[in-house]
Symmetry: C2
Subunit: 243 residues, 2 copies
DNA sequence: TGGACAAATCTTGCATACAAGACTGGAAAG
DNA sequence: CTTTCCAGTCTTGTATGCAAGATTTGTCCA
């Protein structure tokens, strides 16, 4: 099991902890989610863990292999395409019908873009992953439709899993530029352009995937055995900022 | 508890049985879903019933009132607006990007429209409700994105609950005409028109709602005490076919 | 007659126990 | 040395038991 131990105390719901761990890429697709370990970690019985798993399963975030265990979903290449297709439709539709940006929304978006810049500068990979997904959720929130926001939240989680599976390097600057362009279009009060930019942005991200890549069943082991080039003090983010 | 006893034997999963009951309007919003009764009905323990409830709760189809019980969701007026808003975005987006209709798809759609006509003629209300929702799910299936299909399936279930709460009469013919128009536009290979028609269709349905209506807490009792004007041999469908 | 209180009964919340399939490791046989 | 098999151990699947809050109903008192 991966790094779930950094979650706040057991006040957090189990669902949220797991989704958060995915949204910030602290947990990999295919990671095992042992009922016993989660139960111990949250100081509850397996019953509640299972209930959380059932909810997450309904959201396509975890899957169960009968009598073998629960695992963080590993979206197939086909599923990946469908997720991006769904996001294109939903996000472009949201932006197209987006009302005029309120002052506070504009402020919040700018603050978010600034956060992205800082995370890129600080080479804080987890935070960056989190922010990159959160941007789209924020847009949905501003659009003011909680139903679609909820849908997008799940799709974002799945997107992150997809990225982790099929994307060798994160083109953070490219994504950041895309976000900036969308915000600019919104501020120019041109929702049609914003929608088009969102589609292009998602296209770019999808094109950055290598959907022919077979998932590596040894990935876990490989990671564990490698001397930690992932140390935070090193400069692994050079790759990430690479565009 | 309402009419869930007509479900096929316990081979059916509990989730599916409940969703089916909603999709065909055999069960009302706000209906109580007793764990014990469901457990007895499906000859399983409460554990499995609870797991099904957890999954359905994640899909916003049932809600739990702590230590009071599980109930079929009663979407608020605000939620209703958001659901229709979400459907407008998703369905119009789907139609706009819909590929050219294959022969078998065209055939299937025509068969569906014919089914609608028959259900209207036979005044089969349950079947009609089912078909009306199913039309949109079929479109999504033809569009070929299972992710969005799944989302729409849940939204359709919620739409039916909304209709049952806020719609006094079902304008079946109007809806049927809308469906026909959408199919015609698709056959004319005009996805843009199909998308526009879908938006208008959903607008019409939403406008047919009375979102100011307060839910009647005595509805159940009222229904039970009234001498059955709802008898199948009577002609209640005259109201339904009313446009 | 009306209202307040309390016991009885219902509901879910949660933990636990046990069953059964899947995996692992080692021993035995070829 | 390789392969096969089997026991041990781990996993989830499911049922059950008990606790605690919510509701109902009956009773008593004013």
């Amino acid at each position: 099991m991966q790094d779930l131990s950094t979650v706040p105390p057991q006040l957090q719901s189990i669902d949220k902890a797991i989704v958060d761990a995915i949204l910030s890429a602290r947990i990999q697709p295919g990671a095992r989610l042992s009922e016993n370990q989660l139960a111990a970690l949250f100081s509850v019985s397996r019953t509640r863990v299972r209930e959380a798993m059932m909810r997450l399963e309904a959201r396509c975030i975890v899957t169960v292999s009968p009598r073998r265990g629960w695992f963080v979903s590993e979206p197939s290449a086909e599923e990946a395409r469908h997720v991006y297709g769904a996001r294109r439709i939903i996000e472009s539709g949201l932006l197209r019908t987006m009302p005029c940006l309120k002052a506070e929304d504009r402020q919040a978006l700018h603050r978010h873009l600034e956060d992205e810049r800082q995370a890129i500068a600080a080479a804080d990979r987890q935070r960056l992953t989190c922010l990159m997904g959160d941007f789209h959720i924020r847009l949905a929130e501003i659009a003011g439709n909680p139903v679609l926001t909820e849908v997008l939240r799940d799709l974002t989680a799945r997107t992150i899993l997809i990225s982790l599976m099929y994307q060798s390097v994160v083109h953070a600057l490219q994504s950041h530029d895309g976000h900036c362009a969308i915000v600019a279009a919104l501020e120019a009060n041109d929702p049609e352009a914003a929608a088009a930019l969102a589609i292009r942005h998602l296209d770019e991200v999808e094109e950055g995937l290598d959907l022919t890549r077979r998932p590596d069943p040894l990935a876990d082991l490989r990671r564990s055995l490698q001397p930690d080039t992932e140390a935070p003090s090193a400069s692994p983010m050079l790759k990430i900022i690479n565009r």
